[in-house]
Point group: C2
């Protein structure tokens, strides 16, 4: 080991948003609330509760207002929402959302498909949203989607990512997130990109949103951890992930990440056994087989 | 990146041995021969053809003699067999096998279950086999099973692994292989163990046999690659792996490994598109869904 590994890492749980957003089986508000409480009880400290989007486009997120109203907000836990438009931010503010994610895509094609805006237009709106949220006392993490490649465009020039990071960083966010939205990143690229982003952003936290599309998610996480990144988006059971292609693996799984980190001596504050029970319970509820590994194992392997 | 990544890596293909050994659907000799030829045509340079074991215990390996007789051995390709006993070595020698793997387990319980011998007895036999094979001009890779933990015993003291490596190394093998037989290794452990093994073995090649039981296989591979390891056992489609537990992921998948390595600029000599076709063909033949990722993707993701 050339430099010491971080002693601890924070997992930003996205199962309630990225995890279920493309699932046809609508999860009830009751079940979401139960899941949020169970995640909190297992030691998860950051929970992405919902996005505020058009319910016609994403029916799974239609109950955002009711959900936020009813969450039993516990001290020490960050409840977050993903914001995609000014209307979404207004809805979030009306709900007293304390922490939001605001992203732009580094891919022109993806930006237009995702937001109906060019990158420049999307960036302009994101900057406005960040200012508005920040000035209302909402903590903002901001980031770049498809930072490691795009399902539509293939490779994305790093300078394009760095330019966006620079513009977003100027607004003084809490955290900069690099999202491997298409799952096209590799571990070498992680290290190189993180190193270059850090030159721009100094001590501001960098987080990573990784997909396991090509089976490289955990290797990417490890490479980033060695580069000093300590905040990772993960999804219970590995649910969710790439909406572009059928059959693709999902997000990196929270339980597999906890297992790897703990085994390597990196603390997360999460109780793996409890978390596995939460995953197994939710898997049964959804009637799916989640892509995660450790929640399908027993005994000595659940560590 | 602290030190440069290796420019190239060699994949030791184990689908015909570890991959299918526990599959009930017996693969015909014809199909095995076709698979060997197709793997070779896609650029795979090391192929583990079979083990020589009791056909009553492992029916899938019952055709070892016929298979070896009929292989169209191509120049530049290493055809290898796994040897578990003196009788197995005699059978391999009668077939003109040019390269063998001879392993001992670092776990007392696993050693007794796997070979009906204590570690000391198994080591003694292994040393005899290595000498016999080497003196007949057969190239030997030798190694330690459960080097990173055991499904039965949990943690395995590194000194136990290093002691075995030392004894095996004294016989002058071509290569020392560390096998994560139970899939309990983590990336930090990989780096630490490899570094300590290299202190003993100097310039002798180290290889890794990794399982993806807990979803950490690719992260382990990446960590080992950064530590300078350039030979990895992989299995087409990720077939095979841990025989201890139902539902566990298999070996790390050849196509996912090739994808990650190529993307990170590490050459393997393998044509990924051709390899994916071989995997898809064999998956269809077996009537299974292989755990590999990239052979289930399309377009931009197959890189």
């Amino acid at each position: 080991m050339k430099s010491p590994l971080p002693a601890k890492a924070v997992l930003h749980e996205v199962v309630l948003r990225d995890g279920i957003q493309n699932e046809k089986n609508i999860v009830s508000t009751e079940e979401k609330l139960r899941l949020i409480d169970r995640l909190a009880a297992s030691g998860v400290r950051r929970i992405e509760v919902s996005s505020f989007v058009n319910p016609k486009l994403v029916p799974q997120m239609a109950d955002a207002e009711e959900l936020w109203k009813r969450i039993d907000r516990k001290k020490g836990i960050v409840y977050s929402a993903l914001i995609l438009s000014e209307r979404g931010l207004d809805r979030a503010m009306a709900c007293g959302v304390p922490h939001v994610g605001i992203f732009v895509s580094a891919s022109e094609t993806h930006s237009r498909k995702n937001s109906n805006k060019s990158i420049d237009e999307a960036l302009k709106e994101a900057l406005t949203l960040i200012r508005k949220a920040s000035s209302s006392g909402i903590k903002v993490r901001t980031g770049v989607m498809n930072a490691f490649g795009c399902a539509y465009e293939g490779k994305i020039p790093p300078r394009q990512v760095l330019k966006l990071v620079g513009s977003l960083f100027d607004e003084g966010p809490e955290e900069i997130c690099l999202a491997d939205t298409s799952g096209l990143g590799n571990p070498r690229q992680m290290k190189e990109m993180i190193s270059r982003v850090r030159e721009l952003t100094g001590k501001t936290s960098i987080s990573l949103h990784l997909h396991n599309t090509r089976g490289q998610g955990m290797a990417n996480l490890w490479a980033a951890l060695e580069e000093g990144v300590t905040i990772f988006d993960t999804s219970l059971g590995g649910l969710g992930g790439c909406p572009f292609i059928a059959g693709a693996r999902g997000n990196i799984a929270t339980e597999d990440t906890v297992s790897m980190l703990h085994d390597a001596g990196v603390r997360t504050g999460i109780d793996l056994k409890k978390l596995i029970e939460v995953s197994q319970g939710f898997e049964k509820h959804m009637g799916l087989v989640f892509p995660a590994a450790v929640s399908h194992l027993t005994g000595a392997f659940c560590r």
